[in-house]
Symmetry: C2
Subunit: 339 residues, 2 copies
């Protein structure tokens, strides 16, 4: 056995409704010696995201849930702690699927989702996990390929203070849209209007979303970037403008509902308004990530875009961070610093 | 007063749920003398359609219902019975908004929806009211602009034996699609498979639509042309294929529900399948009706397309015909011959 000891979170039970700490168990194990061609990854940061609840319960898009007793999955950044692989040296930074653990053994193959990376010039290495990674691409391609923003359009964004939502607000503003955010606290709403350039932000926990949409979008909604689904989506569909684009990116409000999602009663307004609704999944654009990285990286370095992180410390915090984001209690891009 | 006596159906009351005969009252009145620039239209055929129920209750797209005591509206074909208008002669055939009545006075302006027309060469004049008119255009532009059919696609069509549905089935077949219809009786299903070229037809009144869709569309549904909404739309959304196109054209199953439509719970499958859902309204294509008329006219004359009418006789039949189509009891394109 190697000198290393791994701590990892395994799935202990399935959530009945809300994810709870008891759904996970922290285990300790010695790390096996490396075989030729393998490398040992030491986790620096691991991310969490709302669809993880579906992975725990029904499987979501993957079709089957993570088996009980298996290490919870999660992507992140790691450094190479030991290497028997010719292309990786100790200290290299890699990004990929690490799991909720301190150490992972990899064969270094890209198909196993381990890529050697470098911190982007002038930016924190953690940006690779969000604005310079998949979330940045999600916001960027969702905007240019589906939202099709025009100057003067009214753009509504849910989870406007969230990882993707905050980028969409800023991209919309940069393209001349009037941006109205929807978020879950006064603090988040203040951030959306003061830092992200939105003209207004609706607090869905304390305000009547449909009524506030009527007030803030008197000429109707031209674009809706949806991260939540449910009654918010329905309220927006009731107020779309002629020719609107509705981009379905997430359904956070429904991830606890498993097989009984809220169906939007106002969907037929798509007909009245000759509007379009797109199911959007970033996978189709993976060959173009260099494009979103280049654009967003430049905007960040020029100070024309911003982001905010919500970092908890230590592997012990992973279940807590997941529970926080499912309750909307995080404020900023959620992650956990492992080492 | 002129020599003519008009009979007309006025709105007597609003439907509570289903439209009933008592919601209309047949009234008789003398026809006023024409003033210069006016013409008197004698109705030949008047059409009925499912959205008329919304016009009676909530107003639907028009936003407000037809006032009580007002003549029920309805488009159709008429001949000029008298004319004080320089561009119209007695005997001319016109098409437009006539109302549910035997005689209408018009100023002949196109903006009042009165157009001089001619029966298409080799085809019945009534085709102007459907396959050579708005319904033909609806099917044609819906197919080419939104469904984007590819050979080998599986196309599902609801109200497959209906005016638009029957055309969509045939256009899909002509473009190399595998067509699966959904209709409301054995007779209609037989018609859809034997006359319209569908490979299968699901009787939604006697069969489990979701189960039969799994059987008849084992590789998923590439295109859905929706005329009904409700649980049928939901069942289809549960089985769309990757990259599917869902075209919302009508919502017949929900027109009785006013403000409480059934929302499709499976809408998020649009994300999983990277699919698109379009609200489609034919008005955008009115400048291109000549295109659909030319194509469909040629296909009809060549015997490569067919249609079926369901004609009731006499102005007395108008409410009955509307009630029949709302119940799905018609079989063929519904209209009433007035004279």
């Amino acid at each position: 056995m190697s000198e290393f000891v791994n701590r990892k979170w395994v799935v202990a039970s399935r959530p009945e409704v809300e994810v709870e700490l008891s759904n996970f168990e922290l285990q300790e194990e010695p790390v096996a010696d490396l075989e030729p061609g393998q490398l040992l990854l030491k986790s620096r940061y691991v991310g969490v995201n709302p669809p993880m609840r579906m992975a725990l319960v029904s499987g979501g898009i993957a079709g089957r849930p993570i088996p009980i007793g298996r290490t919870m999955y999660g992507g992140g950044l790691a450094e190479v702690a030991a290497s028997e692989h010719p292309k990786f040296a100790v200290g290299d930074l890699v990004q990929g699927e690490l799991g909720w653990q301190e150490y992972a053994i990899s064969d270094g193959a890209r198909r196993h989702a381990v890529n050697k990376v470098e911190a982007p010039a002038g930016l924190s290495e953690t940006t690779l996990m969000h604005v310079m990674g998949g979330s940045g691409a999600t916001a960027y391609f969702g905007m240019i390929e589906y939202c099709k923003p025009r100057p003067g359009d009214t753009l509504v964004v849910s989870t406007a203070a969230g990882t993707v939502g905050a980028l969409v607000c800023q991209l919309g503003r940069l393209q001349g849209c009037r941006v109205v955010g929807i978020a879950g606290s006064e603090d988040k709403c203040n951030y959306v209007t003061s830092e992200l350039g939105a003209e207004a932000c609706i607090n869905y926990k304390s305000e009547d979303v449909a009524e506030r949409l009527r007030e803030t979008c008197p000429d109707g909604i031209n674009i809706y970037f949806d991260n939540v689904g449910g009654e918010t989506l329905d309220a927006v569909l009731g107020q779309i403008a002629f020719g609107a684009r509705v981009v379905l990116c997430g359904g956070t409000s429904q991830y606890n509902n498993d097989l009984d999602w809220y169906g939007p009663k106002n969907y037929f307004n798509l007909v009245y308004q000759q509007a379009e609704m797109y199911g959007y999944f970033i996978g189709n654009f993976s060959h173009r990530y260099h494009e979103s990285r280049a654009r967003i990286g430049a905007l960040l370095r020029e100070g024309r875009m911003t982001y905010r992180e919500d970092v908890l410390e230590g592997i012990e915090s992973l279940p807590t961070q997941l529970i926080r984001i499912l309750r909307g209690e995080n404020f900023g891009i959620p992650m956990v610093r492992i080492s």
